[in-house]
């Protein structure tokens, strides 16, 4: 069968698409709240001129969460000339709507307003922008933020999505196949993160950070016949990430991680993240690479899958021993056999 078959099965199990049932339920919730927020904005004099979904669903890198919580990043955009001067004002308005609808745990965070539908395991982040020409400005600030700590910050959410979906950097090879491999690799690494890190640290190993790392260092791999080689691609990509300068050793064995956004505002995605988080990412990525290489060197698929199951969790299944026994039960021969100068017609 080849190890790729097992990667394909794993990918099918973890990938989350826009049309998946689990996600649809979240979308229904999102749609109904979005309408209420939009009408509150309308009454307040700054109507929503466009809205869109941000995040992994737009970049085809979404995975089914093992925690069971579905995240939606809902962007709402208002016009610059009617937008309140204070960016926290529309965020407070959003919070009011959410509270009216009975969300007890809705809160204003620095970049967004969050709401949990605990009953449905749906988590929605409302992200408010104002639009001036082509330029988006993100409403930054908490409820209590004073003037110094709140701003309409220039940002490029669509540019980031386009950058992740762009396949023009992949050279002359079959770009569609390469882009698909990139998306699979991002999904593998995100699931690996969810399995390998404690929940509190995993939440700081941001998906967008992992996505940018894979995109920038992608080492795609296909056989000469064009068959997908995800294991090879993953080994080489993780290797390239570790060999680049994202990690700085600040103390012996302690690493700071820095991954810049490839679009405005160009900031470090891991800005403010601790030395412990950086060190854990570095060490766990190193182990990932080491174990993948170990798996690659094995000839028995079940043994390979055992290692991959340990790295990626239960959705990377270990196949039952095949009928007729595994490799170890196969016959051993004393010679390779003689290829005769065959002729045929």
């Amino acid at each position: 069968m080849g190890i790729q078959t097992h990667f394909d099965k794993f990918h099918n199990k973890i990938k989350l698409g826009r049309e998946d049932d689990a996600y649809k339920k979240a979308r229904d919730r999102d749609d109904s709240i979005k309408k209420d927020v939009a009408s509150a904005f309308q009454s307040a004099g700054y109507p929503v001129v466009k809205d869109f979904i941000q995040g992994s669903l737009k970049t085809h890198t979404g995975i089914i969460p093992i925690s069971g919580d579905y995240d939606i990043d809902r962007a709402l955009v208002i016009e610059d000339d009617v937008a309140p001067e204070n960016p926290v004002t529309p965020k407070k308005k959003t919070l009011e709507v959410l509270e009216e609808r009975g969300f007890k745990n809705a809160k204003i965070k620095k970049p967004c307003v969050t709401a949990d539908y605990t009953g449905d395991n749906v988590h929605i982040d409302f992200i408010i922008y104002k639009l001036s020409g082509d330029q988006h400005y993100l409403a930054v600030g908490k409820g209590s933020s004073d003037e110094k700590n709140r701003e309409w910050a220039a940002t490029d959410p669509c540019g980031l999505t386009d950058w992740i979906n762009d396949d023009s950097l992949f050279g002359v090879d079959d770009r569609k196949e390469v882009l698909a491999q990139f998306r699979r690799l991002v999904r593998y690494i995100k699931r690996w993160r969810d399995v390998q890190f404690s929940e509190s640290v995993a939440s700081k190993v941001y998906s967008i950070g992992l996505t940018v790392l894979v995109k920038e260092q992608l080492q795609y791999s296909f056989s000469t016949e064009g068959a997908r080689q995800d294991l090879q691609a993953l080994i080489n990509t993780v290797g390239a990430i570790l060999d680049s300068n994202y990690f700085t050793e600040e103390e012996t064995g302690k690493y700071r991680v820095c991954v810049d956004l490839p679009k405005e505002p160009w900031r470090n995605i891991f800005d403010g993240s601790s030395l412990d988080t950086g060190t854990q990412i570095y060490n766990k990525l190193s182990r990932l690479k080491e174990q993948l290489i170990k798996a690659e060197g094995l000839s028995d698929e079940r043994e390979q899958c055992k290692i991959l199951n340990d790295l990626f969790g239960k959705d990377f299944e270990i196949p039952e021993p095949p009928k007729g026994g595994s490799k170890s039960e196969k016959a051993k021969y004393s010679s390779a056999g003689i290829v005769t100068a065959s002729v045929g017609a």
Binding site: M1, G2, T5, D8, K9, E225, A227, S299, K323, G324, G325, K327, E329, K330, A331, K332, Y333, S334, S335, A336, G337, I338, V339, T340, A341, S342, V343, G344, A345
Partner: protein, 168 residues
Amino acid sequence: MITTVISVSLDSMMYFEGYNQRVNVHKDVAEVWHRHRQTGAKTVESFGVLIGTTSVNRREIWIEMVTTPMSRDQCSRFSFSLLDPGHQKAVCKMFYSTDGRAIYLGTWHTHPESIPEPSNIDKNDWANCLRMNRRRPLAFVLVGIEEIRLFIQRNGRFKSLQENHITM
């Protein structure tokens, strides 16, 4: 008799069964055969050797890899001669890398006909392969335009096994 039309899908595995023998074909191998079918009017014969493993009782075999024509081989639309030492090298490489489990398991070649029938030249050649590799469970594959057929020898005659697919 085999009647299934060749269908190579990533989600299924091809195997042949009959005469107390089962032959599993690796997906990549099925893809190689599919790609080399002599569908064009001028395409020449393609061929190579089968490399794979067997169960201890040798009733089940796994074709895990095949070689394809190499520079010192000769071929035309209706015949071929497997002369390049690269085929033997490929077999030996697999043999050593699998600790003696993967061996030479026979040959494959294409025929420019929908449902391929072995010629007398084919059968004589297969008998010669078996003579050179005694007590090995060899198989011989003919890749036609619509069907792939696999033959083994039983009681001095070549019999074709039934082709099947399992959906993964």
